[in-house]
Point group: C2
Chain length 206, copies 2
C-alpha cells in the first residue's frame, strides 16, 4: 500500500520528501527523521545541511588516485610516509576506507569508480583504467595489487586489468588472497581477514 500523508505544512512535507529519497528510507522513517530534527537545536540542523551541501560544493576527486578528497591531490597521494612504488587498485571510496582500517597496506591507491559489469552495462571505458595505465607509465611502481570484490564482476575486472598490465613485464601484479569468502563484498569483510588477505597476496596468473 502506498502511504499518503496529509501534511499540514509544506515545509515539513518538503523535508520528508527530500529525506525519503534516500535508499531504504520510506515516508514514515523520513517523517521520524524530521520530527527528530524539529527537536534539535537550530545550529545542529544548519550544520547538517551545510555538511550535505559541502559534499557537492567542496568535495574534490583526487587527480592522482580518483578517491574523494578535500584538496586537488589527496592526503594519501601527497604523503611522504607512503610507499609510492606500491599501488592498490580498488573499486570505490569505501574500499579505500576498509583497507586503511586494516593498517596492513602502506602504498597508494587507484580508485576505478566501479567494476566491469556486463549485467549493469558498465564497460572498461566507464572506469578510470586509461588513467591507471597512464599513471603506471609515468610512475615508478614496482607492484600493483588488485583488490576487488570476490564476485564474478570483480574477477572479470581483475582479469581484464591483469591482461593490460602484462605489457609491463617488470611490474609485479598481485591480487589479494581469497581469504575473504567468495561471493562476499570487500567492504563487509572484518579487518583481520582483509588484513591477512593483503599479507598473503599472490602473483596473478593469467
Amino acid at each position: 500500500m502506498h502511504l499518503i500523508l496529509n501534511f499540514s505544512s509544506k515545509i515539513v512535507e518538503n523535508a520528508v520528501k527530500a529525506l525519503s529519497g534516500f535508499p531504504g528510507v520510506g515516508q514514515r522513517s523520513a517523517l521520524r527523521m524530521v520530527m527528530f530534527l524539529l527537536k534539535r537545536p537550530k545550529e545542529e540542523v544548519e550544520q547538517m545541511a551545510y555538511a550535505l551541501q559541502q559534499l557537492k560544493t567542496e568535495l574534490k576527486i583526487c587527480k592522482e588516485c580518483f578517491n574523494v578528497s578535500d584538496a586537488e591531490v589527496c592526503d594519501i597521494c601527497r604523503s611522504p610516509n607512503r610507499n609510492h612504488q606500491l599501488l592498490c587498485v580498488v573499486e570505490d571510496m569505501q574500499d579505500v576506507m576498509a583497507i586503511e582500517n586494516t593498517a596492513q597496506f602502506n602504498g597508494l591507491y587507484h580508485v576505478l569508480g566501479g567494476i566491469i559489469s556486463p549485467v549493469e552495462g558498465i564497460g572498461p571505458d566507464a572506469l578510470k583504467i586509461t588513467e591507471l595505465i597512464k599513471r603506471i607509465e609515468n610512475g615508478d611502481f614496482k607492484e600493483i595489487i588488485i583488490a576487488l570484490n570476490a564476485t564474478i564482476d570483480g574477477d572479470t575486472t581483475t582479469f581484464y586489468l591483469a591482461r593490460k598490465f602484462s605489457q609491463y613485464p617488470e611490474l609485479i601484479v598481485s591480487t589479494i588472497s581469497k581469504g575473504i569468502s567468495v561471493g562476499s563484498e570487500l567492504e563487509y569483510t572484518d579487518e583481520i581477514t582483509l588484513g591477512r588477505s593483503f599479507l598473503s597476496r599472490i602473483p596473478y596468473q593469467i
Copy 2:
C-alpha cells in the same frame, strides 16, 4: 563493537557524522547515504540541504493550535470550512496527520506537544494545557474530543484534562472510542479503525 571508519576526506566524514545523528542510523548507513548523495545531481543535494534548513528557519508553530505551520496561524485554524465549535486535543503533529488522513473529523486541533509522563518526567506544565484552557474560555467550543494514545500516559493525560474541563459544565467532553487496540499508538492505527473511533466517540466519565 564500535566501528571506527578511516575517512580520507573531512568533508565526507562531517556528512557521515551529521547523518549518523539520526535515530536508528549508524555510521554504515550514514556512509551509504553519503555515497548515494555523491551520485546525485548537485541541485538535488542542495535542495535537500535547503529543505532541512527551512525546518529551523521558516517553520512556525501555529499560535492558535500549536501545530507546525508555514504561517502564523495554520491552514486548519484559518479555514472557514472547518467546524470552529469542535476541538480535538492531540499529542503531536503526527497525530494531526493521522486524524486528517481519516477524513472523519472536521473541527480544529489543539496540539499539546507531548503527554503527561511521570516516567519521563513530563508534567502538565511542559504541555500546552494553560493555552488550551485559555482557548476554551475565549472560544466558542461546544465539544472537546480528547484523542490521545491508548497507553497509560495517554489515559493519565485524558483523565487530567477531563477533570480540568469539568469546570465548564456546558462543554461536551468526549474521548475517541477504544476501537484502537489498547497499548498501541495512535499514529500506527489504520485509517478505518481510527476513523470509526471518531464516529463512535463516547462522553468521558470521571
